[in-house]
């Protein structure tokens, strides 16, 4: 069992990104005025994390596919 580390990294940051961005959409803007200079950092940074996570997932899936092309399964295995 050889786990490609990009897979869990991609998944984890995608989940982080989705949660943060969603929270950014529904949260009270007051918390941003109070803490982060009025910027909705949850939404912005959530999207950054999502982009990073998705890229990692994409790379991992492509690597997996090209590996399958290179070593096709023999019949019966």
């Amino acid at each position: 069992m050889d786990l490609d580390i990009r897979l869990p990294i991609g998944l984890m940051f995608s989940v982080f990104g989705l949660l943060l961005a969603a929270f950014g959409l529904i949260s009270d803007p007051v918390i941003y005025a109070e803490h982060s200079l009025g910027i909705n950092v949850n939404l912005d940074w959530g999207l950054v994390l999502l982009a990073f996570g998705a890229t990692m997932l994409l790379v991992a899936l492509r690597a997996r596919r090209s590996q399958q092309v290179r070593s096709p399964r023999r019949p019966g295995s």
Binding site: M1, D2, L3, I5, P8, I9, L11, M12, F13, V15, F16, L19, L20, F23, G24, S27, I31, Y32, E34, H35, S36, L37, I39, V41, N42, W45, G46, V48, L49, F52
Partner: protein
Amino acid sequence: MLIHLGVIDYGLLGVYFAFVLGIGLVIRKGIGGSKDFFESGRALPAWICALGFIGANLGAQEVMGMAASGAKYGLMTSHFYWLGAIPAMVFVAVFMMPFYYGSKARSVPEYLKLRFDEKTRGLNAVTFACMTVMSSGISMYALATLLRAILGWNLHLCIAASGVVVLIYIFTGGLRSAIYKEVLQFFLIVFGFLPLVLLGLKQVGGWPGLTRRLAIVAVRNGMPEGAWSHSWKFVGSAQSNPMGVEWFGLVMGLGFVLSFGYWCTDFLVVQRAMAAKDMGAARRTPIIAAIPKMLFPFLVILPGMLAIALTTDAGGGAHFSLPSKGGSLNYDMVVPAMLAHYFPSGLLGLGLTALIASFMSGMAGNVTAFNTVWTYDIYQSYIRPQASDAHYLAVGRAATVAGIAASVACAYTAAKFNNIMDVLQLVFAFVNAPLFATFLLGMFWRRTTGHGAFLGLLAGTAAAAVHHGLSLPTGAEVGIKGGWLSVVHPYPSEMAQNFWTAIWAFSACFVATVIVSLATKQQKSDEELTGLVYALTPKLKEEDVAWYQRPAILGVGVLTLALVLNIVFW
């Protein structure tokens, strides 16, 4: 300062733990024997090893400590990176990795056994094992006290929980699990801290605003205006820079002895490179790691500089206030205080997850290094040689449990007797300070003998202890800080004293090793030393390696970049 977490923050923390434990469980199926468990099967690509290499080093002590130093000493803290890390990382990659990876050694102490003799290995293995357990315990204790202070969580619960999590994923996946987690943590730290730097910089008015406020900080501390925003400009004399060090002590002590000693001989980091799939990958590991390492000052030192700048009332008033303790600023709280100030619920969960991850990564790195050294260098060598592989795998797993249990014991000892831990750490520092001289001579001078190495190490340790006992930083009390023999030489700062202790230890070890080696007979034949000593090892063939994968070329590139950074922030 108590922070209240929302549901979203706990959610993010929960997601992280689910992933960490999940990875351990998935990897578990791939563990077939002790080689998989201790050496990760030597199958990892260079970039994973490199991020693990840097992740293992990027523990919480580093993150919080460097931010604290950034506030206390300003940009001079970057010397720990651009001077005190990059050159040594290139050196270990280009010159030392061929001996570590190429020899049959599975650990740094084992290299010492092959190159020198049993007693040199024993000394290194035992002190290293004690030190890893202690550092892991101190990480645990630091995490628990931090969580108690900022979240109001129960101390015992925190210690128990962190122990159990680390136990589960190392027990299941061994070194590979630990390295994967270090890679996750690397990205977490980057993404968790970057917004802090960006928000801080925005508020302070960018780099010009930061230097303007830092000039006020410097003048108030009786230093020249640029003392907090230059790395080299004021090292001509120890009195005109906040670190209290002069250039020679800085370059020799930090840049040479301490830095090369850590990056080239500490098994905790070397183990990550030794897990690589082939020699090329092992040698590229430290160099690839050097690239993010070079940029870390912007991630971990800058928050400290921003914190002190924002705390300063510069006409427009202070934007932030660093917590104080007993009348002076509490620099250790830079990171948590900045997180609480600039991160709203949501991002706060991410920042705290990154911080907690870095504490646990520090623990895990130590525990994996401990179980390897214990199993190979102590158990297999002295207690039960020639048992089956399955037996050593079982011992490794048991050592993981025992290591964590010992860490918990250390955590509670640290809680009870603060001083005992400080004393022990000092003793280990004395033992480690001369180690680089031994490796340097061992790898590059074939005449170095086992007696020479062993007695040299003892001489170096003694020199470190005596130097510490005879010197004292200004304003410190006699005792743990030094001067316990008699105060012969005062230093302007503790940092300067540490650098010079290292210089003395290195020099004493070097000279003693040479003298004793010349006076004793070499017990090892040239055949035995092949692959362990530079002159007796065939040069690696690199003709079929692309130029951009050659360690020497990569190394020169990385060194040039580090030089540029030094000049830009001179």
